[in-house]
């Protein structure tokens, strides 16, 4: 009982703290010095029509590398916690299979999802979207068939290869800049024509690596959780 009141007191105090901070904030335009400077020069110096992408992959590329690593660390940690427990036997064809509607729907959706996923990834430097968003769509494309035909799940080993090589490709692209006497993660290949599919230098390649890594990682994570489900 006491802990419950304690939690309530804590939550109220925390809410009050945030509220008073919010009240104290001055109204009007906050001085976004860095943000405004990037808005002014990003289109010219990076060449990505989507300014968010030039921040995510060029100006703050190493943050994105960090985010990728966090996702990788989380997936690895889940593997560490769950792995090695008694696995449920792989479902046989009879008990796991979805009905006709599910199977046909999945057959129709699978190619569509793949196309949409890759489209979002490859146009990340032009339109809203990019590697993270497209990667999630790819993961959905990979997991959906498992619902319809559990016996045909993609092999975890193949996903691990895609995941590892995509992550390595991101870092390798960054390291390639060192060979040209630039700093780590400098965009190469020139900025190109603003708005073209082939523009913004290596940024689309980086986003492709991000998308493949996120897709493979999430798919692997979901498949692992699905595998653990019946056992628990």
């Amino acid at each position: 009982m006491l802990t419950r009141y304690g939690s309530l007191l804590f939550a109220t105090g925390f809410a009050f703290l945030l509220f008073s901070l919010f009240i104290a904030l001055p109204m009007g335009e906050p001085p976004t010095l860095a943000g405004q400077a990037i808005l002014n020069e990003a289109a010219n110096s990076v060449g990505a029509a989507n300014i968010v992408t030039s921040v995510v992959l060029a100006y703050r590329g190493i943050d994105t590398l960090g985010e990728l690593s966090i996702l990788f660390a989380a997936a690895t940690a889940v593997g560490l916690v769950l792995g090695g427990q008694a696995r449920a036997p792989r479902p046989s064809k009879e008990d796991g299979a979805g009905g006709f509607i599910l199977q046909t729907g999945v057959d129709l959706l699978f190619p569509l999802l793949l196309v949409v996923g890759f489209y979002i990834i490859l146009h990340g430097h032009l339109t809203p979207g990019g590697g993270f968003q497209g990667g999630v769509v790819l993961a959905a494309a990979l997991v959906l068939p498992v619902l319809a035909r559990p016996e045909e799940s993609p092999s975890p080993a193949a996903l691990a290869w895609v995941e590892g090589l995509a992550g390595a490709a991101f870092i390798a692209t960054g390291l390639a800049a060192l060979a040209y006497d630039h700093a780590f993660l400098t965009p190469l290949l020139g900025a190109g024509q603003l708005g073209d599919l082939f523009s913004a230098g290596t940024l689309p390649l980086l986003y492709l690596a991000v998308g493949l890594k996120v897709g493979a990682e999430l798919a692997k994570l979901l498949l692992r959780l699905a595998e653990e489900g019946p056992a628990a």
Partner: protein, 490 residues
């Protein structure tokens, strides 16, 4: 070279699960050796002048910079060496561990994140890599797979997430007020925009957030539970290494952006409470690893107190306390790996393992602060720094440090008494070798012998760390290797 200290361990961590078994064993240690060499180079170069690299070749307030001064170089070196000494054992209890590759990957991720924390000059970048170190830490802490460890890790994760949330709110507040995330740029903007209650609230939130990992008073309740249940090597990594890096990030913020008395006093009071609670709880502890955890909270409190002292003297004391703790605590956790947790079972253990007992005595004496050992110099610097400040809270802190030293001596000597006692406890025969803690002991003795030689470089590093103007000038004038890219086709 600066960015490689982060990029190489990350690359190795990504590729580790794909490699053949033989290459898996050697890749991690090799990468760590390379990082150690880089760290030494960086520290050596920084004694002349700190080096700066603008990641992605974007001019500093816009892009992210890595700034390698002496302290950062030294910490990169220490990260690599300590991680190497605490490298997860492939055959614990004689059986191969099926999860070892995942543990190695997480350890490498943690090392990379730690290097980035030491080097980064951007507030949000620090947050990202703090988060990476945190997530890798949760994974490793749960890695012993006992129910107790999983419960402890779950609480750790909740508290850690709350801390990350607080830090993020703090960073948002600072960006909202000042409009930049680059530490050098913030240092210039701070006097006009951040030295008011709102800015200080931002600092407090970041302090509490990063304080979760650096075992700050109020947000350290996870530590005893996690350290007692996780594998000893993981406890050693978290207590020895990650806590210091989170602390270093807070110190950079304190020195560069918030050099105001209110911020220092905050550190002083929280640090003092940390020393008091930590040492008193350690006195009551009946479990070896819990005792180490509480004593670690006390030591980190002392480091917070030291860093609160304004000027190079305080920074030097803080670096000394942190480095000393970095050498001693992992070694003690390695001994705990050998002896297990229960203190009562340690009776007469000196007869079974005389070397381990002797090593324990050495580390205990250094923790207490017996003269020729480095612990004495750390406490001496801390106390003389505190004595140099005006009376009041500072002297009270000095009194707290002196009093708790007595408490520390009592509980450590109690263990030494048990170890060398006549009763025969039921301690099991040694499970692991003492090589790891032996190397730490050699480092400790080496430091003790070369203390006069180390004073000058340490002084230099502290001066560099305190030199806000130098930091700003170095970062703002960072050389961009590429000419500004234009919008034309290649």
């Amino acid at each position: 070279m600066i960015a490689l200290t982060v990029a190489l361990p990350l690359l190795a961590a990504f590729l580790l699960p794909l490699l053949p078994a033989l290459a898996r064993q050697f890749l991690g240690p090799l990468v760590l050796l390379a990082v150690a060499a880089f760290g030494l180079c960086l520290a050596g170069n920084a004694l002349d002048a700190p080096s700066v690299v603008a990641i992605g070749d974007f001019r500093p307030p816009l892009g992210i910079v890595f700034y390698a001064d002496g302290v950062a170089g030294l910490f990169v070196f220490a990260i690599a060496v300590v991680t190497l000494l605490l490298w997860p054992c492939a055959t614990p209890n004689g059986q191969p561990d099926p999860q070892i590759t995942r543990k190695h990957s997480l350890t490498l991720l943690m090392a990379a994140a730690s290097c980035a924390l030491a080097l980064s000059g951007d507030l949000f970048n620090i947050y990202v890599f703090y988060e990476l170190a945190a997530v890798a830490g949760y994974g490793l802490a749960a890695g012993s797979r006992t129910p107790a460890a999983q419960v402890a890790t779950f609480r750790f994760t909740l508290l850690g997430s709350l801390g990350s949330l607080l830090a993020l709110i703090g960073i948002t507040l600072i960006y909202f007020r000042a409009g930049s995330l680059n530490l050098a740029h913030l240092a210039e903007l701070a006097p006009s925009t951040l030295h008011d209650p709102l800015g200080l609230a931002g600092f407090l939130l970041i302090l509490l957030g990063f304080g979760v990992k650096s075992e700050l008073f109020l947000v350290n309740s996870w530590a005893p539970e996690v350290y007692a249940t996780a594998e000893s090597r993981v406890s050693a990594l978290l207590a020895g290494l990650i806590s210091k890096l989170a602390l270093l990030a807070v110190v950079r913020l304190l020195v560069l952006v918030f050099p105001v008395p209110e911020a220092s006093q905050l550190l002083l009071v929280l640090g003092m409470l940390g020393i008091l609670t930590g040492e008193l709880a350690a006195y009551r502890a009946r479990d070896f690893r819990r005792l180490l955890a509480w004593s670690s909270i006390g030591q980190l409190g002392a480091a917070f107190v030291a860093f609160a002292i304004p000027g190079p003297a305080g920074l030097m004391a803080g670096i000394a306390v942190a480095l000393h703790h970095l050498m001693v605590k992992p070694a003690l956790f390695l001994l705990a790996e050998r002896w297990g947790g229960n203190l009562a079972q340690l009776a007469g253990a000196a007869r079974n393992s005389p070397i381990a007992a002797a090593l324990f005595v050495l580390f205990a004496l250094s923790l207490i602060g017996v003269p020729p050992l480095p612990g004495f110099w750390a406490k001496y610097l801390l106390l003389s720094g505190l004595a140099g400040e005006p009376a009041g809270l500072w002297w009270l802190a000095g009194l707290v440090v002196l009093t708790t030293t007595v408490v520390e001596a009592v509980y450590l000597f109690r263990i030494i008494g048990t170890l060398y006692g006549h009763q025969q406890g039921s301690v099991m025969q040694s499970r692991t070798a003492t090589t790891g803690s032996g190397i730490f002991a050699l480092l400790l003795v080496g430091t003790a012998l070369s203390a006069p030689l180390l004073a000058a470089p340490l002084q230099k590093m502290a001066t560099q760390l305190a030199d806000t103007d130098g930091y700003v000038a170095q970062v703002i004038s960072a050389t961009i290797t590429a000419p500004q890219r234009s919008g034309t086709a290649p």
